[in-house]
Point group: C2
Chain length 220, copies 2
């Protein structure tokens, strides 16, 4: 039986959640939109295969990459029997290797306007979005999508995009800062307002430390 991995690569840009899609170059379904994937090598961990695909496309290593699930319907690929292990990745859209992406014929698509995808890839995207929405609520995965330094309004608009609903700026700021896992910097981002907005960093060490003592990250 053939075993493949498929990667769902998400980014956040222009206040929109986006996914990297590919014009398919191999048969069947040449020219159709799809996710990017690869067969798992016989001597390769499945997780490593996903990491390899991600690195080949974006040039990125050591970024958020998590298993979504196995897609294993007998007839999912009309060519031959092949199961796919889907992985989803959250990357900083500013940091990937544009040249590599271009060379692979990939492009970013807003998750609110996904074209038709081959096989069960549409289902994978739907499932991943559902999972991201659930996980973002209980784990600080949002930070994976922002630059190292970000403002509170940027973080808010990311959550607004993920949850697909508006949040109150006072309540949001109060809540997110109350966790004590953001470091306020002495710098401002002056690109979106005259007044400028203070930049913050995610304090991963503090978060891990708090998690171990039963702390519960939750943004409603």
């Amino acid at each position: 039986m053939h075993v493949a991995v498929d990667c769902l690569i998400f980014g956040f840009d222009d206040n929109e959640l986006k996914i990297l899609l590919f014009k398919r170059r191999v048969r069947p379904a040449v020219g159709k939109w799809s996710l990017i994937g690869s067969f798992v090598q016989l001597d390769e961990d499945v997780d490593d295969a996903a990491g390899r695909v991600l690195a080949e496309i974006t040039g990125l290593k050591d970024v958020f990459l998590e298993q979504l699930g196995c897609y294993g319907q007998a007839n999912r690929d009309p060519g031959f029997r092949c199961i796919s292990l889907a992985y989803f990745s959250l990357i900083r859209i500013t940091e990937y290797d544009r040249e590599l992406v271009q060379r692979h014929g990939a492009s970013w698509h807003s998750v609110s306007k996904i074209p038709e995808l081959v096989f069960d890839h549409g289902q994978m995207v739907e499932d991943a979005l559902k999972k991201i929405r659930i996980e973002a609520r209980h784990r600080p995965i949002g930070f994976e999508l922002l630059r190292e330094k970000f403002t509170v309004p940027q973080l808010q608009s990311l959550y607004e995009e993920i949850y697909a609903r508006p949040l109150d700026p006072r309540n949001f700021r109060k809540k997110i800062l109350s966790f004590g896992i953001l470091n306020k910097l002495d710098e401002k981002d002056m690109t979106t307002s005259r007044r400028g907005a203070f930049l913050y960093e995610f304090n991963r060490r503090k978060y891990v430390q708090l998690s171990q003592t039963g702390f519960d990250f939750e943004i409603k």
Copy 2:
């Protein structure tokens, strides 16, 4: 590459969460404890393969069975390259086919006293328990483990077992009944007290209906 499914079958009995384990009869690691599994047939959906294994062992169909994940380290099985799709099932421990289970050399083990398991099966159990703990908090999966009719104290002790901490009976009852997804019956269970405890049923239809209107099941 070989593709297998492994089933983690959980039940609740004697106020303990239990898992069904097997004495391995095939090489390698004959005689060691393991999960039950099977290779996925070439013309078979992966989900169906898991359902087949579950039915073969317990005689049960249409019970809770969900994908846990893919375990795909290259060296996980010392024999040959084989990835495993792990599935976890929650069953009513009163309803399975004892004769079938016995014939397969299976036995129930409290999750607090799991013997050493072959390969990465110990990791699978650990991951499944973690997932059950998280999911039980946000979805009414606990009912899958109880009889059709159950008492509030039974439900409470199930949650106490899953969360591994005591819950206040007044607050628990108030919370669980406030959802309006339990039907109180005119019957009592007289087995655990002189006074008896009223029996309830889970109202699945009502739950589905509420879920669709943004209702959030959560038990802290």
